[in-house]
């Protein structure tokens, strides 16, 4: 057990300054990026497939060269160092365990390469295995383990060297839903216990929301938002973020202002406002309230009961509105819905999709 403790003191911050990556001359995978992760922080990198999550992670790991910029770990510039000199470890999506080695050999391989004596190696492997519940499997080969156990071996292999930084590239995506949930909790506990700075790549928003201290949302290599899960949910910096986090995604409605009122596309007045021009109004499905006196009318087209909540789809102003009702709330009886958009749950974006932060002035007419 004690073998793992010292990491706490050694967690290291990571700073990327102007880091870029192009695999070939034609396309830029990562345009210049400046971000900083604090020591001991759990950062989740979230984004659609092909946005450069793995590329970013591998540049930090030292498996890919940076095209430009600097990476420093614990204040030390590392972009030209080999992975083993950077003091970090990585867990891969398909585990990448050595198939011919036993669990113990897999976990202890990095120590063997580092030339550490057999006795010490065995002791540390045992400590790590006990911590991960692998003590009974030390002599098995990876082929004789379940997916979850393999994943734990991969994690054990990463933490045995007591790295200051732990990198995870979609480590849970090969597991089934139940196991995924269990491993998620285990990972959270593990992080709590060893406290290494962690970067975790995923495209599962639940993983991101539950594990992260801060979430880095990438879109085509650019940082859309880097903030706490709460802020990302409640104040998404762009429509991309707004639609990426939350299921079902946020409703986006085009509105236009003439200086006196905001109107929907169908000309109906939504609210009094001094705003002028075209905008996009966002509201989350779970924020919409069914209200007999609500000013907004929509036609119910479809309902899906998911048990914990119900999702209604309603036609409104040429778009489909999604409305999420919590379990036990009154179901609408007829297809004519009266809705209310609570003022504090509204998000306003410009036509480029960027959030308008200024406290925009809205007044509902009664």
């Amino acid at each position: 057990m004690n073998a793992i403790d010292p990491i706490h003191a050694e967690a290291q911050g990571i700073r990327l300054s102007g880091v870029t990556k192009s695999y070939d001359a034609k396309a830029v995978t990562i345009p210049p990026m400046d971000i900083e992760m604090r020591a001991g922080e759990f950062t989740v990198i979230l984004g659609p497939s092909g946005c450069g999550k793995s590329t970013l992670l591998q540049m930090i790991a030292g498996l890919e060269r940076v095209t430009g910029g600097t990476i420093s770990i614990g204040g030390r510039e590392v972009q030209d160092l080999e992975p083993k000199e950077r003091g970090l470890a990585m867990v891969f999506q398909n585990y990448a365990l050595y198939p011919h080695m036993t669990v113990a050999q897999n976990i202890g391989y990095s120590l063997r390469v580092a030339g550490i004596q057999r006795a010490e190696r065995d002791a540390r492997v045992k400590a790590v295995a006990r911590m991960l519940g692998l003590a009974d499997f030390l002599h098995r080969k990876p082929g004789q383990l379940s997916g979850g156990q393999r994943q734990r071996v991969a994690i054990g292999r990463a933490i045995i060297r007591e790295p200051g930084v732990l990198l995870f590239d979609e480590p849970l995506s090969n597991l089934d839903a139940q196991l995924r949930q269990d491993m998620r909790l285990e990972l959270a506990e593990l992080h709590h216990r060893i406290g290494a700075t962690s970067i975790f790549v995923t495209h599962d928003q639940v993983e991101a929301m539950t594990l992260a201290d801060r979430i880095l949302i990438l879109n085509k290599g650019r940082v859309e938002q880097f903030d706490t899960p709460k802020t990302i949910y409640s104040r998404p910096a762009s429509i991309f973020v707004a639609k990426f986090i939350g299921a079902p995604p946020m409703n986006i409605l085009p509105v236009s202002g003439d200086g006196r009122a905001l109107r929907f596309g169908n000309g109906k007045v939504f609210a009094a406002s001094p705003l002028k021009g075209e905008f996009l109004l966002g509201i989350r499905p779970e924020s919409i309230v069914l209200d007999r006196h609500g000013p907004i009318r929509a036609q119910l087209r479809h309902r899906e009961d998911l048990g914990s909540h119900m999702i209604l789809t309603a036609a409104f102003d040429l778009v489909d509105l999604r409305i999420a009702l919590p379990f036990g709330s009154a179901e609408p009886q007829q297809s004519d819905l009266h809705l209310h958009f609570p003022r504090e749950c509204l998000h306003l974006f410009d036509v480029e999709g960027r959030r308008i932060e200024a406290d925009f002035h809205l007044e509902y007419a009664n």
Partner: protein, 305 residues
Amino acid sequence: MIENARSINIAASVILAIGIVYILGPLYLALTTASHSYQETLQNGLTWLPGDDLADNIRRLWVETRIPQQMANSLIVALGNAALTCVLSFLTAYALVWFRIRWASVVFALILATIMLPLDIRVITTYQVAANILSPVNALLDLTGLNSLISRFFGAPVQLELSILDTHIGLIVPLVAHGTGTFLFRQFFLTLPRDLFKAARMDGAGPLRFIWDILLPLSRTSVAALFVLTFLSGWTQYLWPLVGASTPEMQTAVVGLARLMPDNDGRMPDFPLMMAGAVIVSLIPLLMIALLQRFLVRGLVLTEK
């Protein structure tokens, strides 16, 4: 339908039996012939019944012919061919699969092309190069005009010469230039997880350590299979050893066997001696197959379970 299947079964068995007779018949005849004395065959021709002179024929083979020495040559050529091919194709496939190389697909296509151009087709040019392995350098000097420059200053152009004909190296190297092994290893490496190399790097293992600790243990059966195959092919080579070695001391056993046949002097060839030779010379590859047969099968199906 069942009757139908049975008659097909019977037909298949008959065809199989005929095939076996065709394959084993000559082998059996070789064995019986090898067990009679020369005088007996002079009188009776080839016989289907075993005699009792096998030991004597083998003794004659040992003392009267160069077959023992030539078998040593064969062993050197076959082992050299197998070892060099394994090392070379392992390293080539390693570079092709695990590293990002410019033109990797072109290189691989060129390697594949060697499979379509076996040594038998290239034997004349191969002979020329083996007769002077520096001839490409000479050609390069001529082509670039360097040689005319040199002959202006020193009075004569450079003509380098180094022959590897009649050497073991000369017999081995042309056999090694062959892409089958590279292809075999490449296909096997492609079945391994891509991240294995990255994981090893994260664990601090460099490219050589990765070969030694991870890739080589995983490829054990593939290496063994390729070793057996190239050993057999090296042992049974005929055309190149015939051309590449002109003295009986350097010839291989297969070539030596053919040389036991007297040149047209009207005498009846010493069939028992030749057949004893054939039996002895076939023994080594047979032994090899018997010992390593399980690797052959496992290594060629490319999956390790």
